[in-house]
Symmetry: C2
Subunit: 207 residues, 2 copies
DNA sequence: GAGATAATCGGAGGTGCCTCCGTTTCTCCA
DNA sequence: TGGAGAAACGGAGGCACCTCCGATTATCTC
């Protein structure tokens, strides 16, 4: 199936909204994104767009005007979730000890990945079409992780001889692991194991 | 979109037909394959299965009974065409000078690839599901090429210091070249250039 | 506040996918 | 040759995709 050309994704500039949406339009748009996030998480890429429109209480035409293709919608949902994940890093850092924040954030990362597994196919098409999106998002995730680790190292609750890229590698291993039923549990255990490793030999640790 | 599990491709063993088809069934099956080959070539992966059934003069139910998914149908068409290509090698070798046979066969290879370009997506899904198909077919193509080259070398119309893998590489370059409008012409020129290179310095060549 | 008007809404409709099952056809055996 | 029964047919029906355009608002101007 030829990839249809996507007609130029807009919405790129966060600060230069090409045009202000009318109040009802922007309300509907948000509603759609919210419902879509839920549906994609539950049903994966086979979520029905008509179902999403129905649950959002708008006509199918409205959905298509806002998001001309399935991939447009996937992209926006994807972006939103990356942002939420990164915002969570700030929030966690503010309210927890650095090592706890790091541990908790990595657990959330697992959940986030879990939600993405269903929509692998749409994400691949999106990637073929517009790989710049991924450069952005993986950058954001990288810096969030960096900040958390730096804080934990500075605080002495995590050993100082580790590198972000090691952690990234471990986390990306989670992403590419096969999709077994116990995938999620296994991933969570792996993250806490990783965290123990990071704490071992830190200034604070008893040994 | 989750890849649906394909329910075990049968038809693998060429010599052990699980069950003889009823006469009408096998007639319809052939008709479907023939029409499908044309439609896939013309419309690529977006060819409509209902259209194929209609043109073949059977109901959509019949198409689905023979080929439970689009990929099943794609696979059979694909296999047929590889076989036709390899049979052509034998035929060409019988009726032409070895170097001419080789040249002509490579040109046909280009045409064959051209036909595949439209259905890239279905082929990828097929590959994910059942990569063994590709091992078979690329093996067949390899040996066809090998025989043609051997004959031409033995005959002295082509230089003897070349390797199949060099030629394969050049041909696979054709496959992965971008899909521009003049793709086909360019590929044909490339093949004839390659052929000149092969002839240069052969025993026969005036050098 | 009322009207103009441009932006937005929403669903009917045409097409394709796929399943299910009553009907038709072939094949085999007596 | 003439059924009986298995095998195959084929299309109706349910759902989803996507487009198109008349009806419906939100917003702006006076």
């Amino acid at each position: 199936m030829h990839h249809k050309e996507l007609p130029e994704l807009k919405e790129a500039k966060p600060s230069a909204p090409a045009k202000r949406l009318r109040a009802d339009a922007s309300r509907n748009r948000e509603k759609l994104i919210g419902i879509a996030a839920i549906e994609f998480a539950e049903r994966g890429g086979s979520a029905s767009l008509e179902e999403i429109a129905r649950k959002a209480g708008v006509g199918i035409g409205t959905l298509y005007r806002h998001f001309p293709t399935r991939e447009h919608l996937v992209e926006v949902v994807y972006r939103r979730e990356v942002e939420a994940l990164c915002d969570a890093a700030v929030e966690l850092a503010r309210n927890n000890a650095p090592d706890v924040a790091l541990a908790e954030w990595m657990q959330r990362f697992v959940d986030y990945i879990a939600a993405k597994r269903g929509m692998a196919n749409s994400l691949r098409i999106l990637f073929d079409t517009n790989s710049e999106v991924f450069a952005n998002t993986s950058g954001m995730i990288g810096s969030a992780l960096q900040r958390l680790v730096d804080a934990a190292v500075a605080d002495g609750s995590v050993r100082s001889d580790i590198d972000i890229s090691d952690i990234s590698q471990a986390l990306s291993g989670i992403y590419s692991a096969p999709d077994t039923p116990d995938w999620r549990d296994r991933s969570r255990r792996l993250v806490s194991l990783l965290m123990d490793g990071l704490r071992w030999g830190s200034a604070r640790s008893r040994r």
